[in-house]
């Protein structure tokens, strides 16, 4: 079958400007996108740069966008992408600095972010007593998370990273989960503190795109939520979003609904003068437009006592 590959190009040793090359190749039935790229490089354009290593879905190195969706080229069959016509577009992942053609900067995209979470277990060598004893259920959860082959698809799908590239992203936070929940780790709390800080777990907007994208079903969003719960559980919750959560829950518990004025003030922190000052313009506007009744009173809603009981029941069950 004749297929035209429209490939993103950039050469840092020439003008460094992005462009596109079209290559029409005869590909055999069952061929993968990676095999087609080899054919192009060998027969048509030896300057074409793309990464790959294991060739069969183990390692995650060959991730690019095939017709707009991120895929491993080694397992992507050409025939799956030509149903609408014999053309396939190939691009580097979105929101990533590109070095040459389909080779992008994995360091900036993912490895550096993973390094930030100090990605190792702090453990002693002590082996005299053999292995540490652990339930398989606990190890099974870690095996699931550690089956991550660092393909970057979760970060590629993340809706926060395009807005804030400094966000640690689902890949690094999922890596942190592996350490925080490993019973053998002696520095779990340190690692939790790191990801609880700025650009960490509270910046996730739980859009669940990472879960949709992960080809291994690791569910990064659920891991991030688990890290948030753990942060609350061990009392690491000094960040603004954590205060926001607390205030939100307290307000609903006390009055049956949300006290937005209190939420804004408590989220900023009662001693955070500069943060509170920033609220003033919004408060002033709200007053002018009649959105904040004066004098400011937050009344209980009907049925507030029942809502309180529901919350207390939930809190008791969680203990």
């Amino acid at each position: 079958m004749q297929v035209t590959f429209k490939v993103y190009r950039k050469d840092p040793e020439k003008d460094g400007k992005p462009g596109r090359s079209n290559y029409t190749v005869d590909v055999p039935d069952g061929a993968t996108v990676l095999e087609s790229l080899f054919k192009i490089r060998d027969e048509m354009d030896s300057s074409l740069a793309f990464r790959c290593s294991c060739l069969r879905g183990h390692c995650g190195d060959c991730m690019v966008r095939v017709n707009g969706s991120s895929r491993l080229t080694c397992t992507a069959k050409v025939s799956a992408y030509t149903q609408k016509g014999p053309e396939i577009s190939l691009d580097p992942l979105r929101n990533v600095p590109v070095i040459k053609d389909l080779v992008f900067d994995w360091d900036a995209f993912m490895w550096n972010k993973i390094s930030t979470v100090k990605p190792w277990l702090e453990a002693d060598d002590a082996t005299a007593n053999g292995e540490s004893i652990a339930a398989d259920a606990q190890m099974k959860d870690l095996r699931k998370v550690m089956s991550c082959y660092h393909c970057g698809m979760c970060d590629e799908g993340c809706t926060v990273l395009p807005v804030d590239f400094k966000f640690l992203g689902p890949a690094a936070l999922t890596k942190a989960y592996r350490f925080v929940f490993d019973p053998r780790n002696q520095h779990a709390k340190e690692q939790l503190k790191t990801v609880e800080g700025p650009k960490g777990i509270w910046d996730c907007v739980h859009c669940y795109e990472a879960d949709e994208h992960c080809p291994r079903g690791i569910e990064p969003t659920k891991r991030i939520v688990a890290l948030r719960d753990e942060a609350f559980r061990v009392g690491i919750n000094n960040e603004k979003v954590a205060r926001h959560h607390k205030s939100f829950a307290a307000s609903v518990k006390e009055s049956g609904w949300l006290d937005e004025g209190r939420l804004a003030i408590e989220s900023e922190g009662l001693t955070n003068v500069s943060g509170l000052m920033k609220l003033l313009p919004t408060a002033a506007k709200a007053l002018v437009r009649g959105k904040a009744p004066l004098p400011y009173m937050h009344a209980k809603r009907p049925g507030a006592e029942q809502i309180k009981k529901i919350i207390e029941k939930g809190e008791a069950e969680n203990k």
């Binding site: 050469d11 840092p12 040793e13 069952g30 993968t32 095999e35 490089r41 060998d42 027969e43 030896s46 300057s47 740069a49 793309f50 990464r51 790959c52 290593s53 294991c54 060739l55 069969r56 879905g57 183990h58 390692c59 995650g60 190195d61 080694c74 397992t75 069959k77 070095i99 040459k100 080779v103 994995w106 490895w111 390094s115 100090k118 990605p119 190792w120 277990l121 702090e122 453990a123 002693d124 060598d125 002590a126 082996t127 053999g130 292995e131 540490s132 652990a134 339930a135 398989d136 190890m139 099974k140 870690l142 095996r143 550690m146 089956s147 082959y149 490993d182 053998r184 780790n185 291994r216």
Partner: protein, 539 residues
């Protein structure tokens, strides 16, 4: 120029373990790898990592199984030191975070695997290599060891008798640089990409073996190439761990009827039996995973299920999967002592690129990862000790300029009709047909002349892409050269060994000749060509 006590070349399990050990022994260490360490070939190891942990097991049992699989070519002293350290290293990995499957007491579970006589393959689902590699890389990062990722080593710097560093091309920067070192550890992996199909990653091209050989190092038992018995052979080839056999999978014919094969034979014998059965009227053979049960396939072999689907387009819980033996891992490599010393002072080798006598003529299933960590540690420590005690030698002043010239010469000139991919593909076919699972004198002679003509073609091929940044055509040129150099040695060693033993099956010499051939083949470069000697097994 960068300077370190120890430079490790290769970022797989052996290289990472060696780097960690050398660093902890007090050396300044750098690691160079041509791909990111987590993309290395160790990641694709599946079935397990052996250690004699069971109450019914012992170091002695383990040693006996290794010696049996090695079919007379194992070095007993090396085997002995290996089996004594295996459990320690597996426990170390466990403490560092490998999430091994556990038994009901919460201890590391072990499963039957290949010709191990006891259940001793510790495992993490069917992703054992991936998990071990991940944890080694974590501990490597913990020590803050400088990691030069996507740096391709182009030469060893040998000053007089000693190795004093390497030159390497940074793929991202496009710049050549010199790395001076008191000791260099090669941990570059195997060379099975000279076969097509094979079970290995694209970078498994024998770079380290070729560099050592051309610099005066010796290669040992290069004719011993293990074929993996259960590989889906289409496309790039997909290895299906033979741990599934011990878990109940059947080898069947097209009609789904089981074929009479002893599933617990060593790999070499199992591969021969499968290939023999296919030729003797059973036609294509298949794996039937259904007897394992869908639930257990999904829980114990999740990756097998995933890849059979994505690579082969089959459902491992329902469909029969076509298989045949495919070239897997060499037993042969750079001749070393148990501490990794080579014939060149200051040059060490470990893992699949090395041959220290552990594996003899056949590697026991589940030993590759154990070998990586046991010897990775030993060799890392030995290299650090050597670096501490040796006098500093100068990196040859002209070396970097010479390498620049070499690269310039490769990238300037007329582009030929011929291509690296064509030469590589023909080499793969030739090795598979003539130097494959079964060989004979005539075929080996044809292979040698074929390899020679491929070498001549390769020398004429210029790199058409004049750039330096991520120029994979340029690195492929080096890799194909390495494979051609080693293919010649593999075929010559196979020609010299006029007997059948372990992974080496000669149709024209079908018996094992313990009188003349209880010896290793040792190949060295003499006046520009490979010269083969025998070295008797020590025990």
């Amino acid at each position: 120029m960068q300077e370190f006590d120890v430079v490790v070349v290769g970022g797989g399990a052996s290289g990472l373990r060696a780097a960690i050990a050398a660093k902890r022994a007090g050396a300044s260490v750098a690691l160079l790898s041509k791909s990111h360490p987590l993309r290395s070939n160790s990641a694709i190891a599946q079935g397990g990592i052996n250690a004699p942990l069971g109450k019914d097991d012992s170091a002695e049992n383990f040693a006996n199984d290794i010696m049996a699989a090695g079919d007379g070519l194992c070095e007993r002293a090396v085997v002995q030191s290996f089996v004594e350290d295996a459990a320690k290293e597996v426990f170390w990995l466990e403490h560092m975070g490998v999430p091994f499957n556990r038994d009901k007491d919460g201890r590391i579970d072990r499963r039957p695997f290949g010709s191990n006589s006891r259940n001793r393959s510790c495992y993490a689902d069917d992703r054992t290599g991936h998990m071990v590699l991940t944890v080694l890389h974590e501990q490597f990062q913990r020590l803050g060891i400088p990691s030069f990722e996507e740096w391709f080593v182009t030469s060893l710097a040998v000053d007089g008798e000693a190795c004093v560093g390497v030159t390497a091309l940074g793929l991202k920067s496009g710049k050549l640089d010199a790395f001076a070192a008191r000791a260099v550890i090669l941990a570059t992996g195997g060379f099975t990409r000279m076969y097509a199909p094979s079970t290995v990653s694209i970078g498994t091209t024998g770079d380290g073996q070729a560099l050592a050989f051309q610099s005066g190092g010796h290669l040992m038992d290069m004719e011993m190439v293990q074929f993996h018995p259960t590989v889906f052979p289409k496309g790039q080839g997909l290895l299906i761990t033979e741990a599934i056999l011990a878990s109940g999978a059947q080898i069947v014919n097209q009609q789904g009827a089981p074929v009479q094969i002893d599933k617990s034979s060593p790999r070499g014998k199992l591969s021969l039996a499968i290939s023999g059965a296919a030729q003797n009227g059973d036609g294509s053979l298949f794996l039937d995973l259904k007897p394992i049960g869908k639930e257990k396939i999904l829980s114990s072999f999740p990756q097998t299920n995933e890849l059979v689907k994505s690579v082969a387009g089959l459902d491992s819980t329902k469909d029969l999967i076509p298989i045949r033996p495919v070239a897997h891992r060499p037993m042969g490599g750079i001749e070393t002592t148990a501490s990794g010393e080579t014939a060149i002072a200051g040059l060490f080798a470990v893992g699949e690129c090395a041959a220290n006598g552990l594996n003899g003529a056949g590697r026991l299933a589940g030993n590759t990862l154990t070998e990586s960590v046991v010897f990775g540690k030993k060799v890392g420590e030995a290299a650090a000790a050597y670096a501490k005690s040796s006098a500093k030698k100068n990196f040859p002043a002209a070396k970097l300029a010479d390498e620049e010239k070499k690269l310039d010469a490769l990238t300037s000139g007329n582009s030929a009709e011929d291509s690296l991919a064509k030469v590589h593909a023909e080499l793969g076919r030739l090795m598979n047909e003539k130097v494959g699972l079964v060989r004979d004198a005539g075929g080996l002679q044809e292979a040698l002349s074929g390899i020679k003509s491929l070498q001549q073609r390769h020398q004429k091929i210029k790199v058409r892409n004049g750039g330096r940044i991520y120029n994979y055509e340029l690195t492929t040129h080096f890799e194909v050269a390495s494979m051609l150099t080693l293919a010649d040695v593999v075929a010559r060693s196979a020609q010299a060994r006029s007997e059948s033993r372990g992974a080496h099956n000669r149709k024209d010499c079908p018996t094992t000749d313990n009188v003349n051939w209880k010896s290793h083949t040792i190949t060295k470069l003499a006046q520009g060509s490979a010269q083969i000697d025998k070295k008797p097994v020590a025990n």
